[in-house]
Chain length 315, copies 4
């Protein structure tokens, strides 16, 4: 990740603010506010604003449940209770805003989370930066042969080199031709004074999907956790997981009590179906259970066994 | 509006905070943060948190439009441009949270605005306060005879007195019977030690719709303006308008530039249909236009004439 | 539930339609379309429109996953897979619309599900029907002494009679006074020709929360299941559960395959936290586990044991 | 637009359905149900399902306003009233589902409309079709010199030819290299039996933004109109407008009365600010108004004059 001089100056200016506020603050998050946390080769995440902290959740819950919350006498106990019983609205009382730089094909996954506010850099108005995502060789995975949307082993040697060259050459050539069509270079200078360039809204179609874009993305704490639960999961594509993992760190700094409950009940937890529950009950009683009698498919059976780390029972 | 000692202490504690933050602040809003602004007889609005200010809108717009915004060289010019052209996403970058005390029949109107986060006091968990809305005599309006959802003249004299008595007596009696069924008084004391009370979730059904409830209500700036546009309008019911007007003041303190643009383009503005435009064009040219030839209904014609203060043309 | 002559006629008219369509249909749901299914003393649910059926979910999934779905060769297998892995968007491709008559205090719980479309009978425009919910004696539960939002044993004898009388008398008196203030009876006739009535938007505040209202409520299949998961649960208040249970029946008729997966994975399933998983693993291995060493609270421990029906381990 | 044999067969099968339903139908829309309506060079729109018609809006409004709607005695009058006064909820009672094939750079604009349900073809699961958008020469517009996001004159001659060649060559080359990296051709055949291909989720990043994707897109009538208002507008990019215009036709077939009101009040209408209203009033009175005294910027002044076709007043 390379920031321009202007960007570095802007971040410094933002960080040098020392405002007085009557609002609650999150002191650990303040320490990294506006900081550009590097991700992938050219991407970053910056926390640029937030509202509320752990106490805001507790306060909202106490408004809802009134005198009913008196018995749960610690903030931590109450937040764990809310998380365990899927109470959602108190977590919506906190809000966070990120500035994210990310490849377009990842942006397309990300935007599917609809309950968020977004301002994306517009390639109708402005020229996109000359930056494309090129994977590290160690992330150059083959198609999985068992999972249609997964990755298999790493591609190495000549084949790896060839893939990386193709990605690089194609991104560079399409970008060069993008400039050519615009009759303008990425730094804003004109190529040929006697020509008029193609409209930006058209020329952009020539760029490849690994071109970087950027946006402001704002969401509430509940929806942030929904996002992280899916995108920090090992089933998520590596490239979006890289963002989710950095965001998990910001979650920890922002709302440490909620973070702990989230890791226990959501990230580390699992769901068990009605059929699954009855299998687990039998196993606890020491009864033998065979897949056939349960009506579960092999895939579902194995998912259950893996969830409870019963590796010897995986078929 | 009467606050309990506990509430007054809580507000004082909140207001005595002096936190340092790198976030942007809204200095005028800070001055009234947490303050209970009285509305109706027992209601109030308190701003309890916020995120962003006018500069956040500008910043989000500049991310979207990149170098494209350089030409609009003032924040005010840019915000007016965004408002005029219905650009919505930059306004979603600011967020505000209110604590509101309001009669249940108003809460039922309010909640229809779905793009907001709410934590309401739960009458399943706790006993509702013994407070009901009783209108001021000057707001005791008769049913309008021309508008099915509107108010006509004020009801006065004996009839007014009777209405107010009925409202008061019914609210007090149903509340007393609510306590009776709960076998518990509003202050939490038990009525009859030998009895067990009816479940709170059932007893509450005996309360009248003017009983006060309270909630935390959080929304973004765009949706706040959508709310205010409808609810601060003179067609809105007086009781919800009373809230909207106080909220308009908080909007002004929070984002003064946006407030000004909002008043000009939304609150003070009007929409004109295709047919309406062609009528206005003719009027500007000095041509005569009769309602009949336009295809407009009498109602629609009059709405247009009133919007442009052409009172002599109202039929 | 008593329908008016007009309502009965309207339902007959709607049901007598025999339209030809190229859209997919749900033949079991067609059989009860428009039917008023009675709930509580005066309430009902009617399915008044729907879009899609089980095949619509499969079709949407096949668009998303393309050739990737070929291996799952039955619709049922695919729908179960989607449900198990929390794929949400294919279930959003189906839509249903209900006409519901329900007490206001239940409507207030219901409306908290925001991802739905609602048209409610407006008491600003029209007079509400003279109908209130009065619980069956067998549902007249005492406040639970262990759960702040729950119900305990049934209230009987004199106390029950007294409660029912209070509810009935208060509802009737407040309704009578509502008519008095309106100067109009519920059937639209005027009470006193020489008076003008109070505005409807004001008079309504005198009604009790057990007064019935009605609305059209439309949502997609995903959000319907979210609603039912919470509201058909035994923690839900009896009165809303009564609606949810009838709606579960309509779900079964509409999308039978999805219904089955929903009952297995959601309604009958459970979530297990990271800590809970490690306890279950130990129990399966035959190890002893004491609550103290797990870090779980007594409440959380018991919830886990009850979920897996290990009643002897409940403390 | 070229459909595969499989697609043609699927459409025929869908269109040959003759189901009986008690639901309301929209007979004009039924005629084109499932039909692939061609857009751009390879794109299409198909209406694949719908719920409700004009009468559903009327019915929902009558539930809301009860006896209050009796006076408006035609469906058309009521729908116009609802549209004029921005009543939104009755329009949410209708739903429509489209199958759309469109270039990725247009999909990225489209998806910003969040209140919709989407199932997009996943390039993690499957290989994308070998189809890219190449503009017609007549749509090959230069960048506007006065509007940062607009188009200017058409690019012609050699320069046009060169642009089209660049677009074509780059799309073809990047697609060929996509196949190369996948070690698989678009028809599913393997290129080199001794190699394993790169994961699909990675290889896709090499494609250009004019590659076609497809999705199911479902929304309610209110949000469809919000979409069309923005995207059928002449400020919208030509390529998305091409879709919006075909969708306008489907709107007309589906809900003809609503369509007419929409064209009059939304598409053909305009908003006037408070300042704008006072200018119009003066013009109607025959007074002279100069831009300077109004406080309007030149841009805003001109927008107002153009809206009312006062071309001689444009500065």
């Amino acid at each position: 990740m390379k920031l321009t001089k202007d960007q570095i100056k802007e971040i410094k200016d933002q960080q040098s603010q020392d405002n007085i506020t009557k609002r609650v603050v999150s002191s650990e998050l303040e320490k990294i506010l506006y900081e550009a946390l590097p991700i992938l080769d050219h991407g970053f995440i910056r926390v640029v604003d937030y509202m509320g902290n752990d106490t805001s959740i507790v306060q909202a819950a106490r408004v809802s449940y009134g005198k009913g919350t008196k018995k749960v006498n610690t903030d931590s106990g109450l937040i764990k209770y809310l998380m365990r019983h899927w109470h959602s609205t108190p977590f919506e009382m906190c809000e966070i805003k990120y500035h994210v730089k990310l490849p377009i094909f990842i942006a397309r996954q990300w935007i599917r989370h609809r309950t968020a506010n977004v301002n994306e850099y517009s390639a109708r108005y402005s020229i996109l930066d000359k930056e494309f995502y090129l994977p590290d060789q160690k992330n150059l995975a083959a198609q999985s042969t068992i999972n249609r949307q997964g990755r298999g082993g790493v591609i190495k040697g000549d084949q790896a080199e060839k893939v990386l060259n193709l990605l690089k050459e194609d991104a560079e050539r399409t970008y060069k031709n993008y400039e050519e069509m615009l009759n303008q270079r990425f730094d804003g200078t004109t190529i040929n004074e006697n020509k008029i360039g193609l409209a930006r809204e058209l020329a952009r179609m020539n760029l490849t999907l690994n071109t970087y874009t950027q946006w402001y993305w704002k969401t509430d704490l509940l929806n942030l956790m929904n996002f992280l639960r899916l995108r920090a999961d090992h089933h998520a594509q590596y490239e979006i997981r890289a963002y989710a993992e950095v965001m998990l760190d910001t979650l920890k700094k922002w709302v440490p009590i909620t973070y702990e409950a989230f890791m226990d009940y959501r990230v580390g937890g699992t769901e068990v179906s009605a059929k699954g529950k009855s299998i687990i009950q039998k196993l606890i009683k020491g009864e033998k259970v065979s897949m056939e009698e349960t009506g579960l498919s092999k895939r579902e059976w194995n998912e259950l066994m893996i969830a409870f780390e019963l590796k010897d029972k995986v078929i």
